[in-house]
Symmetry: C2
Subunit: 590 residues, 2 copies
């Protein structure tokens, strides 16, 4: 298993040189997020992830979770690591101080989350889901609900879940069958079966607080009739067991140490949170955060995979360089001398560092949306977040999967063997394009709801930033040709969008036909912008080798990865007809 080392140099580069986190925090009045505090989070967070979580990653995969008559046991060491994490105060880093949190900006929470996810994706699911539940309760709960639940959740005594999916519906939540019947005491009796509930049952906390989508008896049909309920495993007052039980855990391709549960609610006592029939809206308010977190899993598994691959490529001796032996004293050259191995490593590096920049860029927007005192600024940040979130989720997870596959390939046959840990990363990475809204759904959200739904306004909010950047750097000595290339793509982006918009007015299927390629096309342009920002910022970096590497990786990105936009554009332009002309029957075989 690759031993995780937090990429602190790159993180500090983004924090200090590219995105000026200190100025950003100062402007938002987030005085607690001082340079010393940021440094402490980086240093101590890295130690915890490297020393506690990383060593449990492979054993967690091998052991998996165990289910026995409703009881779920997490792999050896998971429970203890969670206790240490809580003890270290990590769980409440970005939580509300009113309920025991440290109140640091969301962006710092995400910096920490990357390290957690890179060292142990499965383990990270437990606190991750709890943070999701905390956000929902914080945003929509009554004062009493917050008092009852948020303190214990922040303290890590209790953990949380989000219960959406049922066997017959995932994307189409309007179809859910779970019912909530009002009781005389103001509570609800929740009955139904939920599947794919991460952290739905486990042994890491004293109680589990489920946030459950269900329908009231008189609810309108479809998504407008869904409400959200808090259903604790143990009643908060009496401590007695509620009528919710884990019926099974799933056997999955990866994230095997994350318990994915079937939860049966049998008239369980629940409490309405937020307005009746507005449950989906409540869920959506925390989606930005959750989707960014899921997007980051692409980065996390990609980073871990790169760390394994780069080490192996330097150690493994195989064949001689075609331009003459590079390690003549050894039996063969290390494989990093071979251009095709470098192609894979640079692809990994360019995506990881680009995706990290995208994460940090977006994380700052989260801060601004939460903390700015300027309503206009908050709205601008919200708009950019709405635009970027589906791209973060889908682009980062698709490219993350590609990265982990390159990582395996660098190892050759050893990449396929479990003991090396590289294949686990590819298996763990494979869920991220699926859950939290499939990447296809993200793409529809981006193109249909966000871009076309705003008549292009949300797109223009971003292209304007790129346009300004290109104008400001049009004469950059080393990079002007790349700036020009970005500027041209930025214009083309708008044109392509108008084209699809026109076509969609005549035929709504044009949106679905274009969506995934449109999202990937957008992601490549956004990363190009971020890569240029990094290449420029790196010129002021004290470490000349580091600066050179950033420049070289930027160049690689523009020459070898950005051309993929041409293919995605062509696919978008191909339109829906070639997708829709076949009858469903004609797809079949016999």
């Amino acid at each position: 298993m690759p031993e995780y080392k937090a990429p602190l140099r790159d993180m500090r580069f983004l924090i200090d040189n590219v995105f000026d986190f200190h100025g950003h925090y100062a402007a938002l009045g987030a005085t607690d997020a001082s340079p010393d505090m940021v440094n402490a989070i980086l240093e101590e967070g890295a130690k915890f992830c490297e020393n506690v979580l990383s060593p449990l990653n492979r054993s967690g995969d091998e052991e998996g979770c165990h289910f026995d008559n409703g009881v779920v046991t997490t792999p050896r060491g998971f429970k203890e690591a969670f206790a240490q994490y809580v003890e270290g105060g990590w769980h409440g880093v970005a939580a509300d101080p009113a309920y025991g949190g440290q109140g640091l900006p969301q962006s710092l929470g995400l910096v920490l989350s990357e390290m957690i996810g890179s060292s142990n994706t499965s383990w990270g699911m437990y606190p991750g889901l709890t943070h999701g539940a905390m956000s929902a309760i914080h945003a929509h709960g009554t004062a009493e609900q917050k008092d009852i639940f948020l303190g214990k959740l922040t303290a890590g005594e209790w953990t949380g879940t989000m219960c959406l999916t049922e066997a017959h519906c995932g994307t189409d939540l309007g179809l859910i069958k779970t019912r909530a019947v009002p009781q005389a005491d103001g509570s609800y009796a929740v009955t139904g079966s939920k599947i794919f509930i991460s952290a739905g049952e486990h042994d890491m906390s004293a109680n589990i607080i489920h946030l459950v989508l269900a329908k009231l008896p008189d609810a309108p049909a479809g998504t407008k009739g869904i409400s959200l309920f808090i259903v604790p495993k143990f009643h908060a007052d009496s401590g007695e067991r509620n009528a919710v039980n884990c019926g099974a855990i799933e056997h999955k391709m990866g994230i095997k140490a994350s318990a994915t549960c079937v939860l049966n609610f049998d008239g369980a006592k629940g409490f309405l949170i937020g307005e009746a029939n507005k449950g989906l809206n409540c869920m959506f308010t925390m989606m930005n955060h959750a989707r960014l977190g899921t997007g980051m899993q692409g980065l996390c598994n990609g980073e871990a995979s790169f760390q394994g691959a780069i080490k192996y490529a330097n150690d493994r001796l195989q064949m001689r360089s075609l331009t003459g032996a590079k390690a003549p004293d050894k039996a063969a050259d290390p494989i990093i001398v071979h251009p095709d191995v470098r192609r894979m490593l640079l692809t990994m590096k360019a995506f990881n560092e680009g995706n990290r920049a995208l994460t940090y860029f977006t994380a700052q927007l989260l801060d601004t949306a939460h903390l700015s005192s300027d309503a206009g600024q908050r709205q601008e940040a919200e708009d950019l977040l709405a635009f970027l979130t589906p791209i973060c989720k889908a682009f980062m997870t698709d490219t993350g999967l590609e990265v982990t596959n390159h990582g395996m390939q660098v190892f050759g046959g050893h990449g396929y063997i479990r003991e090396w840990g590289m294949e686990q990363l590819a298996r763990d990475a494979r869920i991220a394009p699926i859950y939290e809204g499939t990447n296809g759904i993200q793409a529809l959200d981006l193109l249909g709801r966000k871009v076309l739904g705003s008549q292009g306004k949300l797109l223009r909010g971003f292209t304007k930033i790129v346009h300004k950047f290109c104008a400001a750097n049009a004469e950059h000595a080393q990079l002007k040709s790349y700036v020009a290339q970005l500027n041209q793509l930025n214009q083309q982006w708008g044109e392509l969008t108008s084209q699809v918009g026109m076509a969609a007015m005549k035929n709504p299927d044009e949106v679905g036909a274009a969506a995934v390629d449109y999202l990937m096309y957008s992601g490549y342009i956004i990363l190009a912008y971020l890569w240029l920002r990094m290449a420029i910022a790196a010129q002021g970096h004290g470490d000349a080798e580091f600066a050179k590497a950033k420049l070289a990786t930027c160049e690689f990105y523009f020459k070898r990865l950005l051309p993929r936009t041409a293919t995605h554009r062509a696919a978008v332009e191909a339109g829906s007809e070639c997708l829709m002309s076949l009858s469903a029957a004609a797809f079949m075989l016999e």
Copy 2:
């Protein structure tokens, strides 16, 4: 698990309408391969694969192989299935009648292999490796060696292996350490340790015949000092156990029911096969076949995945079509109405059917190379085979992996759950781009050895075919715009090759830098040619729906997949500098 149904309609379409197998067999004098015989292989082979192998696929994955003190047990039912397979005469379909085979053309063997690999990839490894060993012995063994080994191998009483890789070398076989010391009786004492030996030890046959690469004491260094030895598990004469033992089996990402063994040779008695120090050449003579077989695994897993996905897409109800309800009587529309689901399904269909056409096209060349009485024709077929083999291996396995990933994605969360079987196909498919020479190595073989090594001659052998085809169909009523597009790409292919060739004369790293993208670029053009052939041939097909589907899928291929050539071309043209400028140290993190 998707229940496998052999795609007989598509197979017959290729055999009858596209490639005229009957005329092909008649021209080669392969009279045994009569239409009735072909039909029997298709019908009966399908039954065996559907009824015997397919039901063992998922249980084989769950059980895996068991290792206990040198003894390997295959999953429940594997041994019995092998006995049935041998009993049915399937093992010797394409084997030499002089040793008990049926002597049918290789192409028929491959038609059968596809069905085997699609229904159970892991199981298919055991006969597959045996066929490899049989080819090597047939091509290079002495008459005595053939007499001793080929009969039993053809009969399936014994099975075979190919022992190349050692812990420190896979690609770079010049580094092998296994030694063979001549003995007074003319045999050799073979000592060393081999890893990743598929079917190296198991319970399916009475004896296992290992073909082992080793070095003689006086061997020249590197690949020119490697010899090939036959090392039986039990001595053919005495039946006593030889000094070869299985030290362990690997725990892998997939193909878990295929025993991947560490084999320890401890002065084992072996017999030189072929000339001393020419062992690698002996291996290479069977590589074409083995690599085509591995390439087919991309098709096999892709086909199985498509069968699962198409069924699910018709069954699963989720959301309404944006152009109005298509199944208003149901709770939601089947997901096949959604354009993005169709994008995934059509991508799968276009690659699978294209890859099947590529397999059949190449299989005919194998026949011609083996059976033609015309030396010129044989040479032409050999040249085309040399050119196409690395493309079959790498392009088909890379696209096969993509296909199985789409298959998972169509299933949403259920795609990640083991019981549905879709994730197994993606895990099983993941080995194919790695073994039998990584796809990076295939690409070097194609561009460096085959294309540039022949001064473009091997490429021109193929582009000439495409050129003629385009000339003949330039005025095709429905397809002429695609024909023109293919014709243009075909010219560009030559130009791009010259460009790389020029660059490579100055800098050999240009080959490695371009190779993988060049191979994929080539693969997409070849599939475009084959898709047009299919679309044209389909017009004469009796089933109008089938013909329409071929035309629509061809159109989809040209509009949505072929544009990927633009990206690959740009990557080729980017050259090596952006890969080579970074120092190995600068890749590292801290």
